[in-house]
Subunit: 124 residues, 2 copies
DNA sequence: ATGCTTGTATTAAGCGCTTAATACAGTAGT
DNA sequence: ACTACTGTATTAAGCGCTTAATACAAGCAT
């Protein structure tokens, strides 16, 4: 697990994004049991309260479900997960496009820029 | 001027990024005089101290120069500006690529995704 | 029943960011 | 000289995030 956190944004937000991405990608499969608050907090090197807060946000998004004493589980709603994945991807693309436009790139130039940076490497 | 600030990251960082982008894009031309701390702070709706801090960071990056009582000026070093623009663009692309990969997209899929989202629109 | 695990809640403390309210030094225009 | 503008610095206050240290309720395995 990565848990690379920076100090520029609230940690609970970053934890939420990391877990959300893992759910969207299928790294955390639908219906699977998640590690406990305390265990994940230790892994990530944060306070349990902070991890708890990240979980609360994921629950608000209907990406996980809580069973009071058994633990937390990734939703089994595959459609919900697919939507989340597409929403994140679109948001990222839009973010990238907007920033490039602010820098003065036209759409055609963006495509050229991406090509010039990617054609040199092998697939990864 | 936009000055769209969110509360999720330090304001001085966001101000710094906005100004940096304006310099990189040429919206603030090389050698041009910048507005005063107080004026920009009022425009952005932030405290002068906070805007001051953003300026200090831009100066550390050699993107602006300060004349004690006259004001601040965008650097005339066009090469420095070009480098900044390229660095920002590369960083944004890398950010996008990394996030998409975390979501489970292969490079080919990323390209397809971008195409599918962009081919429908006219140039913007 | 005991012990271990689960989620959840509370309190106090520290820290950085942000603001408000000033103040000072230096330059330019009148 | 006076005024208005520059950048710069200081102080105090408030706020949210984060941590540490607990504590409690509920289920499960033995």
């Amino acid at each position: 697990m990565s848990w690379k956190l920076d100090s520029d944004r609230p940690i609970h937000t970053q934890l939420q994004e990391i877990l959300q991405t893992q759910i969207a990608s299928g790294a955390l499969p639908p219906g699977s049991k998640m590690k406990s608050v305390r265990e994940l907090a230790t892994e990530a090197g944060v306070n349990p309260n902070t991890m708890q807060r990240a979980f609360a946000e994921l629950e608000r998004l209907n990406l996980i479900r809580t069973e009071r004493t058994a633990g937390r589980f990734v939703t089994e709603d595959a459609a919900r997960i697919a939507v989340a994945k597409d929403e994140i991807a679109m948001a990222q693309l839009e973010l990238f496009r907007k920033k490039m436009k602010q820098l003065g790139f036209e759409k055609k130039e963006i495509v050229d820029f991406v090509r010039s940076k990617w054609e040199e490497e092998e697939d990864g």
